[in-house]
């Protein structure tokens, strides 16, 4: 059977249910690919369980129960910051070596319910802190388009795995761009949901008020399907908005049932979805990006215009403060979230036990990488007595300004369009020695997290063989609009 064309999740589910492909063979082929790979996408593999489940799927595929499952037999890779029961979960950190959660994150329960098969835990920046997957304790992941370059981060392992066909679907998490950045660098689709859409129960926290788990896939339709499964209601997350669940993705999915488009021409009818759609292009997001990126993104915007959308250049003045505000908030929350890693109930416990405080400090000194320590120090500082007003509180006020600015822009526009990243994938080791330069790479993504609005990155071109990402931003809980536009664009691009 062939992996000749890149299988989509929709294809897999259909063909498994119809008996056209064997789930077991598919999974075996995936693992073969992983084992041959030089990319280092995975930290832990779930081969035994996955194969057992695949065999089960093949056996029961025609049964009533299985026919209802939306992701039957689809291989999915999970970022290692998401808790999986019985499977090691490390957040790519030495301090969580060997940690096996006794519970599944809510999204994992949802995936299992729909029949997805977890093939392994993907590499990432340690505790999601980074934009290149270079801070991982398990070594960097490589970009499938150029092995000497970074895949982006922090969900680099997930993005690279999709791009290289080492999985069909993947989960990432996005605090300041961690889904969209690697999606952009690896040439795949990745969506950060509205804050409060997807339950964070089971996501090992980096910055609670900013992050969301989100879908990553090779195409927009798969992204929509996965998002629908992920947005299950969950009583265990107080910050999830219960009235907006199971994001309506009927647009994308209904196109498939009946009017499957593939090669231009047959995509009749989909353009009507973006007719009259008002797209805002904030100039602050375009300033300072590389020329190829700028060209590519403008081409994409024009393509959408050809399909009937209307675009307008706008200005969002306060955006230049977003990066500082983001990092202060994220580091402050992180410094508190990471305080629990003390070697008592889980994780690293090396050396001789001295007194509590000394032992505790030593373990953390040994177990955390440099970037993590940097952020813990800065975050602790920002919250400490005398500095709280200057940094944390101030950043929260700036957040209000940024949020208002997005809300204003989205009052007069349906979506916003801009480049995901200011450049294409950089070389391994190029920026890691200068933390600030890495932080600055996030300039186009962090403001979206501050405002809590949804955003998707889809490929829109190449520069010297390296993918460029188009970012579409929507109103709170209007993932449909950005999915619609992304899908239409994708069809024209194909």
């Amino acid at each position: 059977m062939g992996m000749k064309k890149k299988l989509t999740a929709i294809d897999v589910v259909e063909e498994i249910k119809s008996g056209d492909i064997s789930c077991e063979e598919l999974i075996l082929e995936i693992y073969e690919r992983i084992e041959r790979s030089e990319l280092n996408c995975f930290i832990t593999l779930n081969k035994e369980n996955a194969l057992e489940e695949a065999i089960e799927v093949d056996k029961r595929r025609s049964g009533e129960e299985c026919r209802r499952k939306k992701l039957l037999g689809v291989p999915i890779a999970i970022k290692d910051s998401i808790s999986t029961r019985g499977i090691q979960t490390t957040c790519a950190s030495k301090i969580l070596t060997g940690y096996v959660p006794p519970y599944d994150a809510t999204v994992i329960e949802a995936l299992k319910k729909e029949g997805a098969i977890i093939i392994g835990k993907t590499n990432m920046d340690e505790f999601c802190m980074g934009s290149s997957t270079e801070t991982s304790y398990y070594g960097p992941t490589r970009n499938p388009h150029d092995l000497d370059r970074v895949p982006g981060g922090s969900s680099g392992g997930s993005a690279a795995a999709i791009s290289a066909g080492e999985t069909v679907l993947a989960l990432g998490s996005d605090t300041g761009g961690s889904i969209r950045c690697p999606a952009s660098f690896c040439g795949i689709a990745g969506l950060k949901p509205t804050y409060g859409l997807v339950s964070r129960y089971g996501l090992i926290a980096y910055a609670n008020s900013l992050e969301q788990i989100g879908p990553m896939a090779s195409n927009v339709t798969d992204t929509a399907l996965l998002l629908e499964v992920l947005s299950a209601k969950d009583e265990r997350d107080s910050t999830q908005v219960k009235t907006k669940n199971n994001a309506s993705t009927n647009y994308c999915l209904s196109w498939l049932n009946g009017k499957r488009s593939g090669n231009g021409g047959e995509g009749v009818g989909v353009e009507v979805e973006v007719k009259g759609m008002k797209i805002g292009v904030p100039k602050e997001f375009i300033e300072g990006v590389s020329p190829e990126v700028e060209k590519s993104v403008w081409n994409a915007v024009h393509k959408l215009e050809d399909s009937g959308a209307i675009y307008e250049e706008i200005s969002m003045r306060d955006l230049k403060y977003a990066l500082a505000a983001y990092y202060i908030i994220a580091m402050s929350e992180a410094s508190s979230n990471l305080a629990r890693f003390d070697g008592l109930r889980y994780g690293l416990r090396t050396g001789k036990d001295e007194d509590w405080h000394t032992t505790f400090s030593r373990i953390r000194g040994e177990g955390f990488g440099e970037e993590v320590k940097r952020r813990i120090i800065l975050g602790t500082y920002a919250l400490s007595a005398g500095y709280y007003g200057t940094y944390y509180l101030k950043a929260l006020k700036v957040r209000t300004l940024i949020k208002n600015e997005f809300e204003d822009a989205l009052k007069t526009h349906d979506i916003l369009a801009m480049p995901t990243m200011p450049f294409v994938a950089f070389k391994l080791g190029e920026r890691i020695k200068d933390p600030l330069s890495l932080y600055l790479a996030d300039v186009n993504t962090v403001s979206i997290n501050l405002a809590g609005v949804p955003s998707i990155s889809v490929p829109c071109g190449f520069s010297n063989g390296l993918p460029i990402g188009l970012q579409l931003v929507g109103k709170h809980f209007e993932e449909d609009e950005i999915l619609k536009a992304a899908f239409v664009y994708e069809q024209t691009f194909l």
Partner: protein, 477 residues
């Protein structure tokens, strides 16, 4: 010397599940680490969700203490490190607690004739309990500690007083009043181990405050504070300054130890808990106010007037809501004053002696049983001693009726003939003692009374026996 004491009281609330997770709160007799989940164990990725009933209980306490309940509450993180704190922060309240500005009235601990004192309540707020540390040895000598997280996440209401208390005794009285009130509200059970923990602030002559932590018993409070006052007085006498510091109370040795080392310097870096949202509470105030029952002060007043009993008795009867209810039930059936005496003076004493609660006791001796006993007493069927013995027997054995005991122990009062008979016998058999009495040795009479009681197996009234004995002896001459 001018002493100022302020208390921070942490009381565990009687909800069915913990404050931020659904683990059962019924852990007190369980094996360690059997009432934990991802959230209260601090596993990475777990999230808190607020228990609505816990908030209601907290509001009830605030209202009962006369506080001003706020519009909205926000939970904050208090960041510090201790093995019993699984997340490295405690979820508590800081700027938006449940309530401010209340008042508790207590009897003065000074010798000024039991005048009433007003103790101001600064604030009432909610927070979670940390786990429990078990030291092999004492905190400063143990080679390692053992941690049990069953208690982690239990809902606590924290009641903070202004430094209005003037003595360790007063502090104990205040805690008694607080316990009483909380039990009346049905939100607290003072008999559960570790249910109430207190930190105290104490300063002398307006000097710096010392904070004493880890007090977990009512007696402990008085002892710890007395020790502190002595310690501070000694320092002042030697011309030394009292350091503003935190001290740890060691229950076993009855002393406080300085904790003023680097480990205990804290910068709590409070910030609002990002995993929780604001909760509007002011809309529940009226409803919760209506749920508040008659509180100790009101009940005491009512008892003195309704039942015509003394203030002392009323005090004693209303401290524990279970005793108050028991009394009212009994007093509705039989002599109010007699009931008061027998419950406040006798029954309570028996309970204290056996260290059992009224709740436990009422399983063994019902109000109906008690009424029966008092009736037998009133009708002269049994003596006071007999009544006491029946009560003791029922408390010790449980599952027996008064009538059975009267029968089995032959406690039925005896007639005067039998008494006279016994007296005659005793006088005959103890001529020596009789002689002693005649020459003026009054103790000899006690001996003779005792002998008569022995003969009648306690069924005679001692006063009556004494009267008859004396009569008999003196009449022979």
């Amino acid at each position: 010397m001018d002493v100022k004491i302020g208390l921070e009281c942490h009381a565990q609330l009687l909800t069915k599940s913990k404050l931020f997770c659904s683990c059962s709160t019924d852990y007190h007799d369980s094996k360690p680490n059997t009432h934990v989940c991802a959230t209260c164990l601090g596993l990475p990725g777990a999230l808190p969700v607020v228990n609505e009933r816990a908030i209601r209980y907290g509001m009830k306490v605030a209202l009962a203490l006369g506080c001003e309940v706020q519009e909205e509450i926000i939970f904050y993180r208090k960041n510090y490190y201790y093995p019993d704190l699984p997340r490295g922060f405690q979820i508590t309240q800081y700027d938006f607690p449940i309530a401010f500005n209340g008042l508790v009235r207590i009897e003065s601990g000074g010798g000024d004739g039991g005048k009433e004192r007003e103790i101001r309540i600064t604030r009432v707020h909610m927070e979670e309990d940390p786990g429990r540390l078990v030291y092999i040895g004492t905190i400063d000598t143990a080679k390692y500690s053992l941690v049990d997280y069953n208690r982690s996440g239990m809902p606590l209401v924290e009641i903070v007083t202004e430094p209005d208390l003037k003595s360790p005794k007063e502090a104990r009285i205040f805690l008694g009043k607080l316990r009483s009130t909380l039990e009346y509200l049905g939100v607290f059970d003072g008999d559960l181990e570790g249910a109430m923990r207190v930190d105290a602030n104490i300063s002398l002559e307006g000097g710096d405050r010392a904070e004493v932590k880890n007090i977990s018993s009512y007696k402990g409070v008085e002892r710890a504070l007395s020790f502190e006052i002595t310690r501070q007085k000694n320092l002042l006498r030697r011309g030394l300054k009292i350091q503003q510091e935190t001290r740890h109370y060691d229950e076993t040795r009855g002393i406080t130890l300085s904790m003023r080392t680097k480990e205990f310097e804290h910068d709590y870096r409070y910030f609002p808990e990002p995993d929780l949202v604001r909760i509007r509470i002011s809309d529940r105030i009226e409803e919760i106010k209506r749920e508040i029952p008659e509180l100790p002060d009101e009940k005491k007043k009512r008892f003195t007037s309704q039942y015509s009993i003394t203030t002392e008795h009323a005090n004693s009867l209303t401290y524990d809501i279970n005793i108050a209810d028991f009394y009212e039930e009994v007093a509705s059936k039989i002599d109010m004053k007699l009931s008061a005496t027998w419950i406040a003076d006798v029954l309570k004493g028996e309970l204290n002696y056996r260290s059992i609660s009224m709740r436990e006791a009422s399983k063994r001796i019902s109000t109906a049983d008690f009424v029966a006993i008092l009736r037998y007493l009133k009708d002269g069927v049994i003596t006071e001693r007999g009544a006491t013995e029946i009560m003791r027997e029922m408390l010790d054995r449980g599952g027996v009726k008064p009538e059975e005991i009267i029968k089995s122990k032959g406690l039925a009062s005896i007639g005067s003939e039998e008494i006279e008979g016994a007296i005659d016998k005793v006088i005959k058999e103890n001529e020596g003692a009789v002689e002693d009495y005649k020459v003026g040795k009054k103790e000899a009479l006690n001996f003779l009374v005792g002998q008569v009681m022995k003969h009648t197996r306690g069924r005679a009234e001692p006063k009556e026996v004494r009267r008859l004995l004396v009569g008999k002896i003196e009449s022979e001459f």
